[in-house]
Symmetry: C2
Subunit: 552 residues, 2 copies
Amino acid sequence: MPGGSSQTLRPFLWRAERLFEDREIVSRTLEGQKRYGYGEYADRVAQLANALDDAGIEHGDRVATFCWNDHWHFETYFGVPSMGAQLHTINPLLPDHHIQYIVENADDQILFVSPSLLEKLEGAADDEAFDGVQQFVVTSSEVPDTSLDPVTSYEDFVAGHDTDYDWPDLSGDQPAGMCYTSGTTGKPKGVEYTQEMLWGHTMATLPQSGLDLGADDVVMPLVPMFHVNAWGLPFTCTAAGAKHVYPGPSPEPEDVARLIEEEGVTVTAGVPTVWLGLLEYAKENEVDLSSLDRIVIGGSAAPESLIETYDKQFDVTVLHAWGMTEMSPLGTASHLKPGMDDISDDERYAKRAKQGLLVPGLEMKVVGDDGTEVPWNGEDFGELWVKGPWVTQEYFERPEANEEDFEDGWLKTGDVVTVDEEGYVKIVDRAKDVIKSGGEWISSVELENALMAVDDVAEATVIGVPHERWQERPVAFVVPSEGADSDALKEAVLATIEAEYPKWWVPDDVLFIEEVPKTATGKFDKKVLREEYADESLVEGKVPDEAAPEDE
Amino acid sequence: MPGGSSQTLRPFLWRAERLFEDREIVSRTLEGQKRYGYGEYADRVAQLANALDDAGIEHGDRVATFCWNDHWHFETYFGVPSMGAQLHTINPLLPDHHIQYIVENADDQILFVSPSLLEKLEGAADDEAFDGVQQFVVTSSEVPDTSLDPVTSYEDFVAGHDTDYDWPDLSGDQPAGMCYTSGTTGKPKGVEYTQEMLWGHTMATLPQSGLDLGADDVVMPLVPMFHVNAWGLPFTCTAAGAKHVYPGPSPEPEDVARLIEEEGVTVTAGVPTVWLGLLEYAKENEVDLSSLDRIVIGGSAAPESLIETYDKQFDVTVLHAWGMTEMSPLGTASHLKPGMDDISDDERYAKRAKQGLLVPGLEMKVVGDDGTEVPWNGEDFGELWVKGPWVTQEYFERPEANEEDFEDGWLKTGDVVTVDEEGYVKIVDRAKDVIKSGGEWISSVELENALMAVDDVAEATVIGVPHERWQERPVAFVVPSEGADSDALKEAVLATIEAEYPKWWVPDDVLFIEEVPKTATGKFDKKVLREEYADESLVEGKVPDEAAPEDE
């Protein structure tokens, strides 16, 4: 074997401990703000590994977390995988029956839980699905009152244990992490991250083409650590030797602003709503973002206006990124290319509002309805397929889902995109929502965005309704504002679409409803509307039953 | 297998082709300056792969190059490994018998050669060691007169071939590259680079902790492409989407200065002598280095004065780096740490003159004479051992060398180093040259540097001579300048060492010689001196024969 040694996470920790002993990890907790260096961090990680050993955790066992972003959670990030176990981060926002399903499916042995999430966990844990959990550990200094049993506090759990650990040599394909995707339908699907997937993802996020992190950076992940490893930032920052700032339980805009200012945060990351919230807060309050260089936004699309506002008001660059649980998660980042320095502000914001350029190491293709690749012209739609060292090639114990979502080593992302001539990916819809009309695709998302910008439209959604001749035709469902005039509103809605889009994008009808049906996580549940209107003759011509889009 | 797809080089090429089609590759050749984009580059790489197919090259075969840094050589960098063959870059500066040995040892099937290296190759190739080579390809448009047979030109070789190639899916452990270390003694040792070693090395060199390369960079590797893949830069630049500038055959300082200015080079890389040469040139000529941000220096230690001069005179940062053929090659880079912004210029140059900080992903330890780890205090010496995903764990078909240079997955680098409290590695000697005296190590290199700074010393070297009580004692060998007074010089030499070093570092004797023996590559050949003086009683006490340092 001429090759090198395995790709594992532990050398990142070792380097941070030895080269950046005093570089800080700052953590907002209910017990106040904790602050220590990588030196102490590494000692505590070793203590945790020894404690897990003593608790009977063995190579390949799963250890779960149900936790906010704090130093305790961060300690499990290196402690669990580096001893050969697998860190399973659970999303506490899931409904109880999903939590029960994934704890049982993953066969979690020990479960770490944040104090403020105890009540939620107690509700879910009152079920035989939790029978396999041998120990609950509350991440705090003292154990609160709880029905969980057996239970201990994190500090009691690790107390007295040695600050050295005889770390095993692991192979690159050893499962190190696990995260379930919370699909809108069906059971959550488990994604396993091997040591080398996390290693490769760390290496891919470090450079300029990724998130461009270095030892000088102070990084605050607002994206939860239960959501695809906080986009890998705890690993990437450690590899870089950067300072970490963890915002703790339910950070409010006030906390975010304070931590940025006090800790000199240079890079932060999270979903768009967080950054909209901070802007709102900044209207009423003095906010000093002078240390901040970049906000990494992902999870859902960042409005162009948000990108513009942060640039103009705070001189902060929004780095739009896209990824998936199945991708560890980074796929694209919307960097400007050489020669784009002198484009206009508007062109720049438009580029930055796209999901961006594929990072080095991955491959992608855009597959149209007929299975052939779609040209990169910024207009034609297709489903994005990706492949690479940190993209999983299967779900955990879900052969039927594997058949649907993977093909020849490619992950079919379920995202419908355009790619422009310069290679910038733009997500225009989810595959199941895109409207297929006359051999062309219509983006339901684009139509919805246009509709929601119309005065007196409170909410709007667009679905494809079966159509004999055109396969599907768009129909709009609009929730009018109180007291709106229906006829005038319908006219305004149609006029807006006619003005901005090709004629065949114009909905065949506009129906008024009282509310858009929603899923448990608050997303539009188009499935309900599709079921309801599949056999209605909303559009010209008869709609045959058998042409109804398949329910998933 | 939950893991992702294999780590291979090809996706880097694919991404550059699709995202940076027009980003340029510039190449200085004897036929003039060639210039094209990644789009055309990728087409030509595919043509080369098709041509190699037609020439009978199969999965796992070795294809050799004997070439300068130009676009032809760069085309082999992706074309050969991506079709599943192995690129063996031969150092044309080796003596003929070494070239013969490695061509035979590697079983090279096809050999690419630069026109200006034809004569050298013809000499070496007139030997049965070359019987396995089935085709010589001269990297040019037309075939020059040559005794090589069968021979063709590169342009004839690829002409008419398809610009698409059905690239195979390769596994990460597929050998992709090969390079022989040119030790001063013994036969060269082959180091194989697998696809995932080169992938990992590329990822490790991209970020701030490595060489910090991005799409905006214009990179000119002066380090030869036959020397550990030009430190991996052709791969790294492609992954980044950077512009490449290849300086062609025997670039003079004038060429270097012109290319930097004309092409807007931002980063360049090479051994110290190149940069000393450029400084000399700049004394007599107008030189515009305003585009240049960094010079990566490796291969041998960069003098602090060089680092200072480039900083003060040209506002160019010297990034000192260290690596080895066995390491693909990057091991350390001398970046400043957070908080070092306000140290004095002198402290900064001193830090930057060290070999620097280990890059993320690797591990190291410093092993003292007694086999235990040496503390990081900037003073204690030990041999540097390294381990990591892009560090090989064996030589090609050399079990006896493997036994000597590898242990438990660690590469024993043969470099003796100190590491300071902040983790900066400094090479103080080669393991075979360090002087072991009374349980402590004395750096022969440091003593030599000090001696050569003394007036009237033309050359000087220091070796350890066997000593009954102290194991070894240093003895200096000095070549005096013409007309120097021996007695006064000896006094001056000893006074210099006494003033700057601990008492036990002071050589027990200073001997005058006419010339320091040298190896074929011009390095001091201390072996000769050690043999000559092993049984001489140069120092107090009898020197027993059996205590003579082992010859290697």
